[in-house]
């Protein structure tokens, strides 16, 4: 277990409040060192909540967390105080979706990166600044020296996201959590950021969890894909397995709902219906109400987790029988 980069077991997260939300239901997930995993799913499927839980960023008063999370053998849920601060940014770091909001507007980008470096490495301000300069060069920001003294609002969206990546990687984390880092960017910048992340991942040999709702992005960046639906992982496998041989009807729906190979004037494929409200703990297959292949067994109880191959799993009663392509 200790050689695994990430080991999440039976994670269940509930938000208490006026109404209870079962955000994550019995999720298990593991990653080897240096692996890139895409968490794929639509809004509200629990992708971001999983990431925030990994950093201990969920409000403790309103959140019930069960199960266990280990990163490099460290029990994340048991961390607090100084140990938690060392872990955040040092072991695991995060790139946020909206770089315009994730950088503090009143400090220069150099200052913000240097602050994180000083906090973790205990070096002097000038040493931290040179680390910041080096990081800005590694994320390919032109004239990095000058950009150090820029404020976030003086940079473009793509540039800000590069700064955000530099900030996240400044202390060389073992695991990078990327929460839809390209969603707020336009298409040409998206691919640049994806390529940059892939390159940095190889250079630093770190693991990356890449949250996205865009299958194209997931294919571009990751070796493995885990598909989430309604707070559960419904299917996991290598990117190739998921694309070529998606077994879960939801995965197949997602794959069918892209814009490629669609004739002009033809209706786009979509999955009918909407994801369920997560007010109660699911007792049968959450996807059953929208599933085109639903059968009585689906409504009777939780679907079994089938493992057709090592590190490959599908939560569907029909997973054994490959579904004929439509």
């Amino acid at each position: 277990m200790s050689d695994k980069l990430l080991d999440i077991r039976n994670l269940t997260i509930r938000f208490r409040g006026k109404r209870t939300v079962h955000a994550i239901n019995d999720v298990s997930l593991s990653m080897e060192q240096g692996e890139t995993l895409a968490l794929l799913g639509e809004s509200g499927s629990g992708k971001s909540v999983t990431l925030k839980a990994l950093l201990g960023l969920l409000p403790p008063k309103r959140t019930d967390i069960e199960g266990s999370m280990h990163v490099n053998g460290t029990d994340v849920l048991s961390l607090s105080g100084k140990a938690l601060q060392r872990y955040r940014g040092g072991e695991v770091s995060m790139v946020f979706q909206e770089p315009a909001l994730a950088l503090d507007p009143v400090y220069t980008v150099g200052h913000q990166i240097a602050e994180a470096v000083m906090r973790h490495k205990g070096v002097s301000k000038s040493d931290a600044m040179s680390v910041a300069h080096d990081m800005l060069e590694r994320v390919r920001i032109p004239s990095a020296r000058r950009r150090l003294s820029n404020y976030p609002h003086e940079l473009s969206g793509g540039m800000r996201q590069r700064v955000m990546i530099a900030l996240a990687l400044a202390c060389r984390p073992k695991l990078l959590l990327a929460d839809e880092p390209t969603t707020a960017l336009d298409a040409t910048v998206q691919i640049q950021i994806l390529l940059l992340l892939r390159e940095l991942q190889k250079d630093f040999g770190m693991g990356v969890i890449f949250v996205t709702h865009d299958i194209g992005v997931a294919v571009e960046i990751s070796e493995r894909v885990a598909v989430m639906y309604a707070g559960q992982i419904v299917e996991e496998g290598t990117t190739r397995e998921i694309i070529r041989d998606g077994r879960h009807p939801y995965t197949r729906g997602l794959l069918a709902a892209n814009l490629h190979d669609v004739a002009r004037g033809e209706r786009l494929n979509a999955i009918p219906g909407a994801p369920p409200a997560l007010e109660t703990r699911p007792e049968n297959c959450s996807f059953a109400p929208r599933c085109p292949l639903v059968e009585p067994a689906c409504r009777a109880g939780l679907p079994p987790m089938r493992t057709p191959a090592p590190r490959r799993r599908v939560a569907c009663v029909r997973a054994e029988t490959p579904i004929a392509a439509e």
Binding site: Q85, S93, D104, P142, Y151, H153, L167, C171
Partner: protein, 295 residues
């Protein structure tokens, strides 16, 4: 190639991105009205501070024969008051107390109110409820009435005026501080700072205070003119500064009876209060637009 790149990378001094305060300064300098108001306020403050060295007449020494001399009398540039004391000297000396009592409560309330508001906004929950509901109680009273009530209860005197006015201005500043802080707390960069390992204290000290202080500061400057008028008002009512100290509100009160004999003279302290509060207001407006970086 290398050489070309190096020259392209090295910034020319003129292109160097300017810091936040340099930008604010540059915008202020380009705003003539604000600069004039800043000049007037600065001149009043300097005159008040250095009053003893300006070669003015003694503001306490009266003369029974030279009472209520009109403006322009030789030896008394702005005439004399009802006890024959030199008006010009008294107006300048009066600025000391009036400005002090007008500005000090806002400064004190700025620190106390910001601290309360930031804690309430950042911690939230029960702490927020306790602080904000307590503050709300003070909103039930109009600020003038509250100041009069507290001053009346404590009795006249400079310290008591300071205390009562500080209490009056803590609630509005707390409320503004709480509103900006809870807005900032929900933003991603607070989570981003925590995600890079910042402790709660660092988050408050660096990221929250850095972002909320300028809006609170601008709001506080807009209160200075109100505070000065309240301070003068308390003295006018006799529950602020006690005679024979020169203070604009008090002078306005004592000269009130002379309004039929020498109306211009009795208007002078009022003019000072008017000009000063107008300048403070315009200055605060200028600061507000100069400090708003995210337009």
């Amino acid at each position: 190639m290398t050489l070309v790149e190096t020259t392209a990378v090295e910034p020319a001094p003129a292109q160097k991105p300017q810091g936040y305060w340099a930008g604010v300064g540059a915008r202020l300098v380009r705003d003539p009205l604000t600069m004039i108001c800043a000049g007037v306020v600065l001149a009043l403050i300097l005159a008040a501070v250095f009053a003893p060295w300006l070669g003015l007449a003694d503001p306490y020494k009266g003369s029974m024969i030279a009472r209520l001399k009109p403006i322009g009398t030789t030896g008394h540039l702005l005439g004399t008051d009802e006890q024959g004391r030199d008006m010009f000297a008294r107006l300048i000396y009066g600025g000391r107390l009036t400005l002090f009592i007008g500005l000090m409560p806002v400064v004190l309330a700025f620190f106390i109110g910001s601290a309360l508001g930031i804690v309430a906004g950042f911690v939230g929950g029960l702490t927020n409820t306790i602080i904000m509901r307590t503050v709300d109680v003070f909103f039930a009273f109009p600020s003038v009435l509250l100041a009069i009530a507290i001053s009346g209860a404590l009795g006249a005197g400079i310290v008591n005026s300071l205390v009562s006015l500080t209490i009056v201005f803590i609630p509005p500043i707390t409320r503004v501080a709480e509103a900006v802080t809870s807005g900032v707390r929900a933003l991603d960069y607070i989570d981003a700072a925590r995600a890079t390992g910042a402790s709660a204290l660092t988050v408050i000290r660096v990221h929250v205070i850095g972002n909320v202080l300028s809006p609170i500061f601008v709001y506080a400057t807009s209160l200075t003119s109100v505070c000065m008028i309240l301070a003068a008002g308390l003295s006018f009512l006799g529950i602020g500064v006690r005679p024979p100290e020169p203070e604009w509100g008090l002078m306005l009160n004592t000269l009130r009876s002379a309004i039929y004999i020498n109306p211009w003279l009795s208007a002078l302290p009022g003019m000072m209060i008017f000009v000063t509060s107008l300048c403070l207001n315009l200055l605060s407006d200028g600061l507000r637009s100069a400090m708003n970086v995210r337009d």
